[in-house]
């Protein structure tokens, strides 16, 4: 029994929990973070699963991290270093390839090898997406309004949203309306003709979502992944030194320096609620901690269906949380390699492309078939992969001369028929390696160790319900003022003094820090 009383307790030390704690502490609150694992970071983590090799067992790249968070928490001072990821390499089985270079003209030249017309359209496409992304970006930093409410706050936010939208150019406004409601595949068909170009561009529309590139709604996800910038460089993806875990360590360090207390190995079993007011938490080991403000970084299902006694919640709300869609298609594979994979289609002299993203996404149809295979409870026979060799960017990630390869893989259903088990894990890992080996035949000979995180493992390891990387699907009915529940999208909950700050809230998943930051704003509105 611990009698110490905090101003705020944050359940979960994922990057959003840490950001939230840091902002609360910055406002003068005394904050305790309770993390169930042995380390903070949640899905923003690097782990040495195999001695000497630092695996990215969950997230791997940073792009959408709000620059406000980086600046306001002085993350650079706390060790955050982001190295831009400069290229994308799309190997093809016919011996050809497509590449996106840091140099604009080089990229255009590359694309024109596939289609002169696409090379022309590419500039306009990039400019258009940039304008749209910039236009919607301010919405990320808003506490979503409740459109049914007429409080001054809600009205003011709604006016802001309206202002943002009506400030758009007319053609952009219409394009945004269409993009939000159409499929990434249809959208790209409008712009381009080259099959591999459309394939690789479509991947941004399906990352983390259980939809195919032809499913309406993926247009929004495409845009979601265009919103990022690193130090003002638009649409740049970066690799944090030490992996994404390096970022979590920087946020944790910033939080600690602001006075946040972080306890790891402290799984919370229950939120203590008295007369509709949250007053503290009870750990699995029985310890109790009390505070005026309780914040949950766990996903909405875990938070409200596991950590809170349902008698404290209205039926409608429980129903909203139960129906919140969270089926996940994503896996993560890490390989410890004795050397570099040799891609058949990579020309001599262009090895620098291995330092960027390597995408197995030869066409929209390839991705769509991968989805078709998985959507009824299966996995892709030929999965989509977004691979990276972090040890080429940060030599500290693997022993000298050796490498690690991180692969984000879709689709493998969290609702696998018959459920996941060790055999099925091994089977799917083979599917992934076999698929990649078609492009890089030496792969199997250089594998020292292999590791897969299926949705099942992501759930067990990180407490992500169904292993969902975004704490719930980014489908249209689960965005903005509907996320995670229509009346409770403003980080508050039906329980007084109890808040949410994880990715189940606006603006959703990815390493953004936005839910954590926005939640802190909402909390500080209530309790300055």
């Amino acid at each position: 029994m611990n009698n110490h009383k905090y101003d705020a307790i944050v359940i979960g030390g994922g990057h959003n929990g840490l950001v939230n704690a840091a902002y609360l502490a910055k406002a003068g609150k005394q904050v305790l973070v309770l993390e169930r694992r042995h380390t903070v970071g949640g899905a923003t983590i690097t782990e040495e699963v195999y001695p000497g090799f630092k695996y990215l067992i969950a997230s791997y790249l940073i792009s959408l991290l709000r620059s406000e968070v980086i600046q306001e928490l002085e993350l650079a001072r706390h060790g955050l270093e982001i190295m831009p990821l400069e290229s994308t390499f799309v190997p093809l089985l016919d011996g050809n390839y497509l590449a996106d270079w840091p140099d604009h003209d080089a990229t255009k030249h590359e694309i024109s090898r596939h289609s002169k017309r696409d090379a022309e359209a590419y500039d306009e496409y990039s400019r258009t997406m940039r304008r749209l992304a910039l236009a919607v970006r301010p919405l990320l930093d808003l506490i979503p309004p409740d459109p049914t409410s007429v409080t001054p706050n809600d009205l003011a936010t709604m006016a802001k949203v309206k202002g943002t939208l009506s400030g758009l150019r007319k053609d952009d406004f219409y394009l945004l309306a269409r993009l939000m409601t159409m499929s990434a595949g249809d959208f790209l068909d409008e712009w381009f003709e080259s099959t591999p170009l459309k394939g690789t561009k479509a991947t941004s529309g399906i990352i983390g979502t259980f939809m195919g590139p032809r499913t309406p709604g993926t247009g929004y996800v495409l845009l979601h992944h265009y919103i990022g910038d690193i130090d003002g460089v638009f649409r740049a993806w970066g690799f944090a030194r030490g992996g994404t875990g390096g970022l979590s360590q920087a946020i944790a360090s910033a939080a600690r320096s602001l006075g946040v207390e972080i306890k790891v190995n402290s799984p919370v079993a229950q939120v203590i609620v008295k007369n509709g007011v949250a007053t503290g938490v009870a750990l699995e080991n029985g310890d109790e901690y009390f505070a005026d403000i309780i914040v949950s970084n766990a996903d909405a299902k875990r938070t409200f269906l596991k950590l809170v006694d349902s008698k404290n919640l209205p039926d409608d709300f429980i129903n909203d949380i139960k129906r919140f869609r969270i089926s996940s298609p994503a896996c993560k594979v890490n390989l410890a390699l004795d050397g570099l994979p040799e891609f058949t289609s990579l020309p001599k002299g262009k090895e620098a492309l291995l330092r960027g993203s390597i995408e197995i996404a030869p066409s929209i149809d390839y991705l769509e078939r991968a989805y078709d295979d998985a959507k009824y409870g299966g996995w892709s026979r030929k999965p989509f992969m977004d691979a990276l060799i972090p040890s080429l960017l940060d030599p500290g990630m693997a022993p000298p001369g050796k490498h690690i390869m991180s692969m984000f893989v879709e689709y493998a259903s969290s609702d696998l028929e018959g459920g996941w088990n060790e055999e099925k894990k091994a089977e799917f890992l083979d599917v992934v390696i076999d698929t990649l080996a078609e492009y890089a035949p030496n792969l199997k000979n250089i594998i020292l160790h292999k590791h897969i995180m299926t949705p099942w493992d992501l759930e067990n390891t990180f407490g992500l319900t169904a292993g969902h990387i975004f704490h719930g699907e980014l489908s249209l009915q689960q965005l903005f003022f509907l996320r995670p529940s229509p009346q409770w999208s403003n980080y508050r909950t039906p329980i007084q003094n109890f808040y949410m700050c994880g990715s189940s809230t606006h603006p959703g998943g990815c390493i953004t820090g936005a839910p954590g930051r926005n939640a802190a704003m909402a909390i500080l509105e209530d309790r300055p």
Partner: protein
């Protein structure tokens, strides 16, 4: 001096004829020109075998009641027939029939899914709220969403007021409905696979999407809002009779109607439409021209792209058509016997949609240009309620089959065989009763009726092509880049079906000007 019409309308869909009736009622000189022999285009009922009549394209629907009343269409012979039930055809004698009377439907559901039965009525109530909202939106010209005028702002405020009045719980629920997939919707409400399958069927009608796609619930609501929902309606004499009644009304107000007359192009001078040119070279002049055709046909065939801006042409090219509905009409020597179904059920609509995944799987093949051997089918035997359609003792069966992708080059024979084989699983004697048949694939619809990619609704009814985006952003108010040229067909708001509302909205707009 040759006549100059106030309006020439190219095409004779219910929208076109509604417009013709309203304009001529307002004393305008109106000429309707229909290229085919049949009034109504795909909304016609024709004889396909000696003594047998069947609907060509759409096999149900009704005009908006405002139009029926304002034009007194019952005086012109319009008689509505309701099909008051839907039957899910299922293997192993498990077929079930839902009546349009919710209490009866609940009783039926009770027998195989008691928990779902409790929720059914509430489900219908929620759908109804969304439907009423759409009905209001469908009665007006879409607003220019980007920069609405004062009047439009007021209209928007009225719609939002209606939404607000639903209450704090229901308002966001209705918003969610508009954007979600029918799979998600039905998973939220029900447990029983077969019930969900049947209820999902409406969400993909005439749409080349599967049940897993966002926006399929919108397609479902659209059909409810145009009065062509689960429980279909038609007219005595078939869908074509609706056009006949409208045509009679229009003529009585003075409109002229020409069939079997092909327009080869719209005459344009100085970016202004001045009339039409017929295939025989004749030019007919008018102060305004209205095309009932879809945007692609109108702006590539009737108007030359040279008369339009490249950006506009590009957008026209991007409209999603992808027709995938095929129609089969069978002339039958007798009533087929469906295992376990009584005659009452046969008067309704028969649906093959045993699960939400079944439809998605049928669609999966279509994405790659193939036709699934397990199609989504809706069928009816209209001659049971309307004996005028077949010789006595004989029957007509009308079948709607998805997905037959336009790009797939699938033959009439393949479609007919599949339809009969699939339905024979439930009515084993069907094949032996077939006297004659008629099949229309998306390619036939394009070839015979100029529907782009054979799409029955003038473009997919999806959110990215609805309201202020239909048929094109910036041109959603029935106007076009050509002065005095308008669109009025299913390609325009509120989209597919035979509600006639596009015609009425445009008539309002033109008489207001």
């Amino acid at each position: 001096m040759t006549t100059i019409y106030d309006a020439i309308i190219i095409g004779s869909s219910p929208n076109a004829l509604t417009l013709a009736a309203y304009l001529s009622k307002a004393k305008e000189r109106v000429l309707v020109i229909e290229p085919s022999k049949y009034l109504g285009g795909i909304a016609s009922t024709t004889s396909f075998a000696e003594g047998f009549q069947a609907d060509l394209g759409l096999m149900s629907g009704q005009l908006n009641s405002k139009i029926i009343n304002e034009l007194s269409l019952s005086d012109y012979g319009l008689e509505v027939i309701e099909r008051n039930s839907i039957t899910s055809l299922l293997a192993n004698q498990k077929s079930f029939t839902l009546s349009s009377d919710p209490k009866e439907a609940v009783n039926v559901i009770q027998s195989f899914a008691p928990r779902d039965a409790e929720r059914y009525q509430k489900f219908l109530e929620l759908l109804n709220l969304a439907k009423e909202l759409l009905e209001s939106a469908y009665l007006i010209t879409p607003l220019q969403a980007h920069n609405p005028s004062v009047v439009e702002r007021e209209q928007l405020a009225t719609l939002l007021g209606q939404l607000h009045a639903y209450g704090r719980r229901e308002m966001p629920e209705v918003i969610r409905l508009l954007v979600m997939s029918s799979r998600d919707l039905l998973d939220e409400w029900f447990e029983n696979t077969e019930l969900k399958g049947l209820l999902a069927s409406l969400s993909v009608r005439a749409l080349t999407q599967g049940t897993f796609a966002s926006g399929t619930t919108f397609n479902l609501l659209h059909h409810l809002a145009i009065g062509d929902g689960y429980f279909r309606t038609t007219a005595k004499g078939g869908i074509g009779a609706i056009c006949q009644a409208l045509a009679k009304a229009a003529k009585s107000f003075g409109a002229e109607i020409l069939t079997d007359t092909k327009v080869s192009s719209i005459d344009i001078n100085d970016s202004t439409a001045t009339g039409v040119k017929l295939e025989n070279g004749e030019i007919i002049k008018a102060t305004k021209v209205i095309s009932d055709y879809d945007a692609r046909y109108s702006f590539t065939k009737l108007v030359s792209p040279i008369d339009l801006e490249p950006e506009f042409n590009r957008e026209v090219k991007h409209i999603r058509y992808k027709g995938s509905v095929a129609r089969v009409n069978l002339a039958l020597s007798d009533l087929p016997s469906f295992t376990g179904l009584n005659q009452e059920a046969l008067k309704g609509t028969l649906v093959i949609s045993p699960s939400v995944a079944y439809i998605e799987k049928a669609f999966d093949r279509a994405k790659y240009g193939q036709m699934s051997s397990q199609p989504f089918i809706e069928a009816c035997i209209p001659s049971l309620s309307d004996p005028t359609l077949a010789p006595s003792g004989k029957h007509v069966m009308s079948i709607w089959l998805q997905y037959v992708p336009y790009k797939g080059n699938i033959s009439q024979e393949q479609v007919e065989n599949l339809a009969i084989t699939k339905l024979s699983e439930f009515a084993p004697n069907l094949k032996s009763l077939v006297l004659q048949s008629q099949v229309l694939t998306p390619q036939d619809f394009e070839a015979e009726f100029n529907l782009s990619e054979g799409h029955l609704y003038g473009g997919e009814m999806m959110l990215s092509q609805a309201f202020f985006l239909r048929p094109l952003a910036g041109f959603a108010q029935y106007q076009t880049p050509i002065e005095k040229l308008y669109l009025c067909g299913a390609a325009t708001h509120p989209g597919g079906g035979i509600s006639g509302l596009a015609g009425r909205n445009l008539a309002n707009k033109l008489s207001f000007n």
